[in-house]
């Protein structure tokens, strides 16, 4: 048997398990345990092959899953060891509880993101008091002692510089969906246009790339025809006269 393991992005064993479960829930209400176990193990195998960090936590969850699956496959009248049974139930409950906690925080994180985005649009001024205030320095409170300050300094200075921290980067990628919407309106009005004119307002290469992707999408739907005499000449875009109504592309979500 062959498993095609796509390069899914997941963070840790719980996240992987959740993603596998959600994917199966799309078409069936009850998820088959054996499918989940098989796929989970396939990922483990792939990670080992790619020499990725397979922590004990991945293995621990795999072991629990295999045990549950093995148990499910036993005939109903098979003899069971009560102690083992209880231990397994405990393991299972622990795993379930962790999954639920994980889902809960993922969910509330989305709300926090939303609230932050809303609140971020209110920008405060950060320059402080400009006027020279000619009073003696106010009684400042330093909320730590000398040892605390040393600890802070040590932590700041020890920040690794060789692995840039991308956690807070906003790549500010332009929206392909927005480009699609805009191009549909413009090309219906202008009928024929050069691609260079369509992207004349773009400031960054990545914005032009967004428009190019949008153009490909429109061509795929048959809304525009695209031609280019040779590889150096201008790309000409022509409206086909078709209007497919409200199309949503795969970019709509991003």
């Amino acid at each position: 048997m062959t498993y095609h393991v796509s390069t899914a992005v997941f963070e840790g064993p719980l996240d992987l398990l959740l993603q596998l479960i959600t994917r199966h829930q799309v078409d069936v209400t009850a998820v088959r345990l054996s499918d989940i176990v098989t796929e989970y193990l396939a990922y483990l195998e792939e990670m080992r092959r790619l020499d990725l960090d397979v922590t004990s936590e991945f293995l621990l969850i795999a072991a629990t899953l295999i045990q549950l699956k093995a148990h499910a496959l036993l005939p109903a009248d098979a003899e069971i060891d009560l102690d083992e049974e209880l231990a397994l139930m405990e393991e299972r409950d622990r795993l379930l509880a962790r999954l639920l906690t994980c889902v809960t925080f993922k969910d509330v994180a989305v709300v926090i993101r939303h609230r932050m985005q809303e609140a971020n649009r209110y920008v405060p001024r950060v320059s402080g008091i400009d006027q020279e205030i000619a009073v003696p320095a106010p009684e400042v409170v330093i909320p730590t002692d000398a040892v605390g300050l040393a600890r802070i300094a040590a932590a700041v200075l020890a920040r690794p510089k060789d692995e840039p921290d991308l956690d807070h980067l906003d790549f500010d990628l332009p929206s392909v969906q927005a480009a699609i919407d805009e191009l549909r309106v413009r090309i219906a009005e202008e009928v024929t246009a050069g691609f260079d004119d369509l992207v004349a307002h773009c400031r960054r290469p990545v914005e032009i790339a967004a428009y190019f992707l949008a153009l490909l999408e429109l061509a795929r739907w048959g809304l525009v025809e695209v031609s280019q005499e040779d590889w150096m000449s201008e790309i000409v875009v022509r409206h086909t006269g078709k209007d497919a109504g409200d199309l949503t592309s795969e970019w709509a979500a991003s």
Partner: protein, 193 residues
């Protein structure tokens, strides 16, 4: 114009220069008026700002008042300077922030346990952005630090206090999802076709 300023104008100047939201009581002290008068002045200020088509608004966050640009100005500010606009947090950092917000004070290990994955880089990121801070140390081997959210976190969320966080219970998966999960992992049930 004389050298005396109306309390209304003085209030605006303070809300303009402050580097963090200012509590009503503190404004009352500085302006030498009652807290009720401060609330009334803030209402008057916001009415004036609105009437004069101003780009500013006074808002209450993190237990205090501060002037902000109106959200409609955001596209202009984005064009004007990238530093004025906020950086977006990664989903890992957001998840850690959510865990700290609801479980504070909470340690590195506890965060990793809940998320099922090492969260050190996200924690560092949040510390650097001033959204979380150390809230002391546990008397355990290695004296691990515990973390809590900062007033800046409240301000960035537009919340008055932690009590205004959406109830976590609202985000627990619905019963049918929990049921399906339990069903999946129930030992002793033969695999159906």
């Amino acid at each position: 114009m004389g050298s005396v300023m109306s309390p209304l104008a003085a209030l605006e100047a303070i809300l303009f220069v402050t580097e963090a939201p200012v509590p009503t009581s503190e404004l009352a002290e500085v302006l030498e008026v009652t807290p009720e008068e401060v609330e009334r002045l803030i209402e008057e200020l916001n009415a004036n700002l609105e009437a004069r088509d101003s780009g500013l608004v006074a808002r209450s966050t993190a237990g205090g008042w501060r002037l902000y640009s109106r959200p409609e100005a955001y596209p202009y500010l984005e064009r004007f300077s990238s530093s004025a606009t906020a950086r977006r947090l990664s989903s890992a950092a957001l998840e850690v922030l959510a865990v700290v917000a609801y479980k504070q004070p909470v340690s590195r290990t506890q965060i990793a346990e809940i998320r099922g994955v090492d969260s050190d880089s996200a924690i560092r990121s949040l510390l650097r952005l001033g959204l979380i801070e150390e809230a002391g140390r546990l008397s355990l081997p290695g004296n691990p630090a515990v973390y809590r959210t900062t007033p800046l976190f409240l301000e960035k969320l537009g919340l008055g206090s932690l009590a205004e966080l959406p109830p976590l219970a609202d985000h627990v998966p619905p019963a049918e999802v929990v049921g399906a999960l339990e069903e999946t992992f129930r030992p002793g049930v033969a695999e159906g076709a």
